[in-house]
């Protein structure tokens, strides 16, 4: 076993609370499949047979009991639950399962939807005997209008600055705009080793990492690091260029760990590898006569996708976008065989109808997803919308650009545009709702009504 897969599925989805209020993020339906299915499927496609899934009790319970969230994977899932309220970061979670980690790990986030060729990332990891290799992608513009938002949302988020070398693979620099008050500061010695540095700002981190086992051990020793993306990765990137080989003074725990490990299993391999590197005339750079990698033993690499789908479903906008694109990722009939669809209705090819749905006459469904056990009555128009499970839509409704959460009931003749209707909500008949949130069943109706 070369790599162990670890799936991080304990996140609360804090950036899309409206959706995750009733459904935990890993189980949100995307294209009528739970979100967690996508990374699992990605791993299964490349041949993993076992995955460690770090998740919460709630999710575990729902996976085992709820028939609607059928995972439909053949891999062996090793579910590890962590406490929800402990506020554990991804690095904390990795530390939590340190005992289970026997080899290098591939860490994936549960909200990743991608068609990336995973072997690209792993190959970088293998070829350079890297400490870390990760996946990034060019950022996508979200085209769809997001419910509850008037106009385009300004990209107030701060950019990540990612510096790669001339080949575009070696990761040299990483910082968030927020931390760069004094501008981008780069040591000259780095520039001397890598005289061409590309600084890219329009990238999304896919949160997919290959990490050496020693890094996991390092985490176990360093309890202060709690997030992989926020702390561990920047630390590793920075440590690449600190003096590591000659001076014992520099606290380079990772290497101490490497040495520790060497004595256990892989010492012979490491030595051999080292010898090969020494004897080989191969070099990763040109222009000077120093050793390959300039003698550095900590190396970080990144694979940047130029094209293809790569989304992290962590905002509402991303969720809608993912739903629109999800059908392209798998070949399944758009209309589930168990759905009862009337002959006299119009269903676009870009729509998905879930299992045991009932779609009545004179209904038109375009560019939309209809969840499991949803009932759609006569003369309903659904465009650009996501309807989750168990929703009932009464006669003559018009739903456009909206998200309707599970078990909601839309009253007769309602006109809903760019709205988010929360779980088990009831929309009164003939209501006309525009650009509003309808959620939280406690406050029954905080909608903003406009009567004609």
């Amino acid at each position: 076993m070369e790599l162990q897969a670890v799936l991080m599925a304990a996140g609360g989805g804090s950036r899309m609370m409206d959706l995750t209020y009733n459904t935990p993020k890993p189980l949100l339906p995307v294209g009528n499949k739970p979100l967690i299915w996508y990374p699992l499927n990605l791993l299964e496609r490349v041949g993993f047979e076992e995955v460690i899934v770090i998740t919460t009790k709630e999710v575990q319970k729902m996976i085992s009991t709820d028939p609607k969230v059928k995972l439909d994977v053949k891999m062996k899932l090793d579910l590890v639950c962590i406490q929800e309220d402990a506020d554990m970061g991804t690095a904390d979670a990795l530390r939590h399962i340190q005992q289970k980690v026997k080899t290098d790990v591939l860490v994936v986030s549960c909200d990743l939807i991608t068609d990336a060729a995973l072997h690209e990332v792993v190959d970088l990891f293998r070829a350079h005997n890297a400490t870390l290799s990760m996946l990034m992608s060019k950022a996508h513009e979200f085209t769809e209008t997001v419910p509850g938002q008037k106009g385009k949302k300004k990209t107030g988020e701060q950019r990540d600055f990612v510096g790669v070398d001339g080949t575009g693979k070696r990761l040299l620099f990483m910082a968030n705009e927020a931390d760069l008050d004094e501008g981008v500061v780069i040591r000259k010695s780095i520039m001397r080793k890598h005289p061409r540095m590309h600084i890219k700002t329009g990238l999304v981190d896919a949160h997919l990492y290959c990490l050496k086992k020693s890094v996991v051990d390092f985490l176990a020793d360093n309890k202060s690091i709690s997030s992989i993306r926020g702390e561990l990765v920047p630390y590793l990137v920075r440590k690449q260029f600190s003096k590591s080989t000659n001076s014992p003074k520099v606290i380079d725990e990772t290497h101490q760990n490497l040495k520790k490990n060497d004595s256990n299993i892989s010492s012979r391999d490491e030595e051999l590898l080292h010898l090969t590197q020494e004897r080989s005339c191969w070099n990763d750079h040109r222009g000077d006569m120093s050793d390959a990698y300039h003698g550095g033993r900590l190396r970080c690499y990144v694979h940047i996708m130029d094209e293809g789908i790569c989304y992290r479903v962590n905002t509402l906008a991303a969720y809608i976008e993912a739903n629109r694109l999800a059908p392209k990722l798998f070949d399944e009939p758009a209309v589930h065989p168990s759905a009862v669809v009337s002959e006299r209705c119009l269903i676009g090819a870009d729509s998905i109808i879930g299992a045991s749905c009932q779609i009545s006459d004179k209904t038109s469904i375009k560019r939309s997803t209809i969840g499991v056990s949803t009932t759609v009555r006569e003369k309903v128009k659904v465009t650009n919308s996501i309807i989750m499970h168990g929703v009932t839509i009464e006669e003559g409704c018009n739903i456009q650009g909206s998200v309707i959460c599970s078990n909601a009931v839309i009253g007769r003749g309602a006109d809903i545009k760019y709205c988010l209707v929360g779980s088990a909500q009831r929309i009164e008949p003939d209501a006309e709702v525009n650009i509003t949130y309808h959620y939280k069943s406690i406050t029954y109706n905080n909608c903003h009504k406009v009567s004609k």
Partner: protein, 745 residues
């Protein structure tokens, strides 16, 4: 706005047509405006120095001509007559020359800025022009860069004012010199320069955030560029120099444009060539590498045998291993020319010589058994037998006598005679000009005098040559770059320039400390101020000693520093005390013995006692000063025995009062260590005070080497007080049992 746009458009149309017709112009600045090549350039302007036996300006003109320039303005200042003569004789001024050369001389040029302001005033350029120095050697075809530049100007409505030409070469490349190393941040797509900085002496490179806010999401930071000092400029460049009279160099200009990009809307772009060659001979280091590159044919088609200057007798033959021989070269028996050797016409070489990587000029004679490696000999040089020359420059008319050895980076300027039997140490520069003569030249603006004022003075005031420096038959003075001219930074640098030594070790060593520094800084930023203040005080005192500054002025300086760093009076006193007491360690290292320490400290205390007195006035001040003394000696626990002497001295100099010492001694023991200190020193301190009070009893005092205090009592008796408090009369020191060594009287 619209009318203006229309006007511009109209102008563009006409200029487009004109562009086709108008000849490409170039501005060649045949002056470096610095003294890097002194003393060589005292006799010959830099542009005329031979490189591969051809004057450097000829390479520049050849480069311009081959790239399609039809009209060149040559601006000269220093020794303009010589340059003019040279050019008038050269092929550039023949009627058949495709490149019309105009020579413009003025004594008033002080910088590149002056030249370009003059270009603007005289309205010389009408279109995009190429700006180069007279010491650029290049074979780059800039027509593509020119095309890109014109295209950008057409598309962006004259926003781009300059395109700089760079050659790609990785760090550590030998034609890159540390001084000229640049780092460039650029927009990957538009090739726009966002940040341009010289990296000499920098450890960290800082890029302001605003350069990353230009909408593009891909930037490139490049450290693999060699600045060729070739720029394609729009006519606006000259205007901009006129508008901004503080722009002196191209560096000023580039930085000014980049900083004011948002205000003025001007941009600078770059063009990177991969296979061309371009370098500026900015110091001897570069001269050495460019000369060798030339011989190794990197600047093809500008090769030595091409004789592109088209002068009679300059031709030479090219044989393998890049050995070039001019006409009438004679080579003695057994002499070897290994590789990369260029020998000018009428040069004769003796037997059993060993020559590699060298250029030898015309009419030279070289004796037997001579070893030349990376030697650059100009014309009419005479080298006797058994000479060894390594990586050195020997100028016209120099004579090297028997058995002389020139180590690396030596320079023999014009007409110098060296030897016999001498070995010049590395980096020696010998010139017929006396170093002091230069200072005299300073008075009459050196840049403007092409009258060679020096010569007449030289004759009137001929000084004797030092045979130890230049050998028994030698003629010449060792040249030392004068350091007194602080405004001219270039002077302080040596002729050869700094060697690019890739030592990443030293860089990364600082990493650990850097991080720890970062940490401490983030915790308490004010400590930094205090530290900085302490350093400044130290510097002030040091200077005071060296330059014999009056204590009153020192006080003034420290006072102004106090305000600059916002330091309280109490801290001033503590820091001052600390700095003074640590001064011997600072100067002589920490391995001082206690005796040495007190020996060097006590005179210092005396010198600076007015400074102390100025700050220590109130009773509290005395106590603060004492606590600072205590603190220091607690740290330097090996030197604790010196404390009593220091206190004694301060008491004697009336810096500290007796009451204060007593008070300090009786109170204030805050921890074990200081209690211990008091216990050790206390006895003696007590005794000082005892001695101080009934002073009618005591004539004098002395210290024994084992730390005992010897009091000379009135009645011709001696009282010995030991550190354990034991008092003995007229007894030798119990610890060493030697009367003399205790310094007893």
């Amino acid at each position: 706005m619209s009318s203006r746009g229309g006007k511009q458009k109209k102008g563009n149309v006409t200029s487009e047509q004109e562009e086709e017709e108008q000849p490409l112009q170039a501005v060649l600045v045949a002056d470096s405006f610095n003294r890097r090549f002194f003393p060589i350039s005292k006799d010959q302007p830099r542009a005329l120095l031979p490189l591969g036996n051809v004057a450097m300006i000829d390479y520049t003109l050849e480069f311009l001509t081959s790239t399609g320039v039809q009209e060149t303005f040559v601006f000269c200042c220093w020794m303009s007559n010589k340059i003019k003569d040279h050019l008038l004789k050269s092929k550039w001024c023949r009627p058949t020359s495709p490149n019309v050369v105009h020579i413009i001389t003025s004594d008033l040029y002080r910088s590149l800025g002056d030249v370009l302001r003059d270009v603007d005033a005289k309205n010389l350029v009408r279109n995009d022009f190429i700006l180069v120095y007279g010491d650029v050697v290049s074979n780059i075809d800039v027509s593509q860069a020119l095309q890109e530049h014109r295209h950008r100007r057409k598309v962006d409505k004259n926003i781009s004012v300059m395109t700089m030409v760079f050659k790609e070469s990785s760090p550590g490349h030998k034609t890159r010199c540390e001084e000229d190393d640049v780092i460039v941040a650029m927009d990957s797509k538009s090739k726009r320069v966002l940040h341009y900085q010289k990296t000499q002496g920098l450890k960290k490179l800082q890029f302001p955030m605003n350069i990353f806010q230009h909408g593009s999401d891909e930037f490139e930071i490049r450290h693999d560029l060699l600045d060729c000092h070739i720029s394609i400029c729009s006519p606006q460049v000259a205007e901009l120099f006129t508008d901004n009279f503080d722009y002196q160099t191209r560096n000023d200009f580039v930085r000014g444009i980049l900083v004011n990009e948002e205000i003025l809307g001007n941009q600078i772009h770059l063009y990177v060539t991969q296979d061309g060659y371009g370098a500026r001979v900015s110091n001897l280091q570069m001269y050495d590498s460019v000369s060798l590159d030339m011989v190794r044919r990197w600047v093809y088609p500008l090769t030595p045998e091409a004789n592109f200057t088209d002068q009679q007798g300059q031709g030479c033959t090219h044989s393998r291993h890049n050995v070039y021989r001019g006409a009438e070269v004679s080579l003695g028996h057994g002499s070897q020319m290994e590789e990369n050797v260029l020998i000018g016409r009428d040069t004769s070489i003796g037997a059993n010589c060993h020559i590699s990587n060298s250029v030898i000029g015309n009419n030279c004679t070289i004796g037997d058994n001579v070893v030349l490696d990376r030697a650059h000999m100009w014309n009419n040089v005479h080298v006797s037998s058994n000479v060894e020359i390594h990586q050195s420059v020997v100028c016209d008319g120099a004579v090297v006598k028997e058995a002389v050895r020139l180590n690396k980076q030596c320079v023999l300027a014009y007409n110098v005679v060296i030897g016999p039997n001498l070995s010049l140490p590395e980096g020696t520069v010998v010139s017929m000009h006396h170093p002091e003569e230069e200072e005299e030249d300073d008075d009459d603006e050196f840049l403007s005098d092409d009258q060679e004022v020096g010569h007449s003075k030289d004759k009137t005031r001929q000084k004797a040559f030092n045979p130890a420096e230049v050998g028994p038959e030698g003629k010449g003075y060792i040249w030392k770059a004068s350091m007194n001219d602080t405004e001219d930074e270039e002077l302080a640098q040596c002729l050869w320039g700094l060697v690019l030594n890739p030592d990443p070790e030293s860089d990364s060593e600082s990493e650990a400390s850097e991080e720890s520094q970062d940490r401490s800084r983030s915790v308490s930023p004010e400590i930094d101020d205090v530290n900085a203040f302490q350093l400044e005080v130290l510097g002030t005192l040091q200077r005071g000693l060296e330059e014999n500054i009056v204590c009153d002025n020192l006080v003034l300086e420290i006072n102004s520093l106090k305000y600059a760093y916002n330091i309280t009076l109490k801290e001033v006193m503590q820091i001052l005390t600390r700095v003074v007491l640590e001064y011997p360690f600072q100067q002589q290292g920490t391995q001082l013995t206690t005796l040495q320490y007190t020996g060097s400290l006590l005179p210092l205390l005396k010198t600076w006692s007015p400074v102390f007195k100025n700050y220590i006035k109130r009773a509290q001040d005395h106590l603060d000063c004492l606590s600072a003394v205590e603190e220091l000696f607690l740290e330097q626990d090996t030197h604790q025995t010196a404390m009593v002497k220091v206190l004694m001295k301060m008491y004697q100099l009336e810096i500290l009062e007796e009451e204060a010492i007593l008070k300090w001694f009786s109170t204030g023991a805050t921890n074990d260590k200081s209690r211990q200190l008091r216990k050790n020193q206390g006895v003696r301190l007590g005794q000082i005070c005892v001695w101080g009070k009934p002073s009618q009893n005591v004539k004098g005092y002395q210290f024994g080497h084992c730390g005992s205090l010897i009091l000379l009592l009135q009645k011709e008796t001696t009282l010995l007080i030991f550190s354990d408090g034991v008092q003995r009369k007229q007894t030798p020191c119990s610890q060493c049992h030697k009367k003399e060594s205790c310094g007893m009287v």
